[in-house]
């Protein structure tokens, strides 16, 4: 046996080379089954872990992309939903406007509120109608809830409305039920009040206060507010009447200018 060992040690390089060539020839000439088996072993031992890793990474990347897409869709859907909700509110508002009739002898000119200003609360508003639309100083401005204010400045396409919440504003008013009169003011601390109302006057909580038309500014019968509280101090000749304003001055959007119908 030693001669075999000597033979192989002397020609070790050749033996290795021949063995490699023989194996390669088996793979080349062995047909599909041999290559499938050899390739299968190589794939199972070496490729499989990395292929699995690659698939996992690709899966994670795919999930991340899906996640990003879902987030984009969610943002778009949220924006659409917000738009739709805003449209729904607008439709509700416009529906209530459709059922709104102007006082007799007046036409309604619709206007949008462009801006509202005031240090503490809103005291004036700029609207989208001006002298081009026939708007004049002194015209009354209302919304579907009630009296809002009057026009104090007019430009070509816009006008400024002095709101009832302006402390300098006064409205000649009367209690709708008893027809007794007073003056509506707005004070930043107390809110809307009905002043100069006689202490003997008939007024109750929940009574409606409307414009009397006697001031020459506002037409009669425009709703200003409802009585919230009545105090009758014994030392005072007038009641202290607090009102809840009919119009919500914090949510003004669509307003109506009362244009006197000219014959």
């Amino acid at each position: 046996m030693k001669w075999i060992s000597n033979l192989f040690s002397g020609y070790a390089r050749s033996v290795h080379f021949v063995a490699i060539c023989a194996l390669a020839l088996v793979l080349i000439l062995g047909g599909p089954k041999v290559t499938e088996n050899a390739g299968g072993v190589a794939i199972a031992a070496f490729h499989y872990p990395f292929a699995k890793l690659k698939n996992s990474i690709e899966g994670l990347v795919g999930i991340a992309e899906q996640n990003a897409q879902c987030e984009r869709t969610l943002i778009e859907m949220t924006q659409s939903l917000n738009r739709l909700e805003e449209m729904e509110r607008e439709i509700e508002r416009l529906r209530s406007v459709l059922n709104f009739d102007p006082p007799p002898g007046y036409d309604l000119l619709q206007a949008r509120v462009l801006s509202v200003s005031g240090a503490v609360g809103p005291v004036s508003a700029v609207i989208s109608r001006g002298s081009d639309d026939g708007v004049e100083v002194g015209m009354s401005v209302i919304n579907q809830q009630g009296l809002v204010g009057r026009i104090v400045l007019v430009f070509l396409n816009v006008a400024t409305v002095e709101l009832l919440t302006d402390p300098a504003h006064r409205v000649a008013a009367r209690v709708a039920e008893s027809r007794e009169m007073g003056i509506v003011k707005y004070r930043s601390r107390e809110g809307m009040t009905l002043d100069n109302f006689p202490i003997q006057g008939a007024i109750e909580i929940g009574n409606q206060v409307v414009s009397s038309g006697l001031g020459g500014i506002y037409p009669p019968g425009l709703v200003i507010g409802t009585v919230r509280s009545v105090e009758r101090p014994p030392e005072d000749p007038f009641c202290r009447v607090h009102l809840d304003a009919a119009a919500n001055f914090n949510t003004l959007e669509e307003l109506f200018i009362l244009k006197e119908r000219r014959l």
Partner: protein, 162 residues
Amino acid sequence: MTIIPYLLYLWLIALHVVVLRDATAVFGVTLNLPALIVLAVAIYKKDTAAAWFGFFAGLVMAAGGPPGQLGWQALMMSLLALAACRVRERLNLDSLKAKVLMIIGGVLIHNLVSLILSRADAFLIHVIDYVVAGAVYTTVLAWLFLLVKERTITVEKIKAIF
């Protein structure tokens, strides 16, 4: 012969074939990491070890490809390793440039034979974009590897720069 480093090299080849080849491609030019590893083994190891490693490297490299190429790739890689060993022995390669030249030659030959085996259309175009460009790309990597291996670039030297 310790087998573990060779197994790690084979896994590195599989990683390259499965994941890194596409990820490291630049304008469609791919690295030939299997040939580079076989040539590196041929430069630093014995010829028999290099020949057997080349054989298995060819198997691992071609395992995911067309079945007809399995034996050819194994034989070619083995011959490449053996030839590189012979050149190293005969020319006594010591300089970095000589090793880089041998690697670029080896990768060029391997790319060219692989292209012939694949029987691809537009042969001349692929000679440019696969054989030559791939060999240059691989040689750049080989040059960096040899700079680190021959300790021309070390961590201390890089730290000293900054």
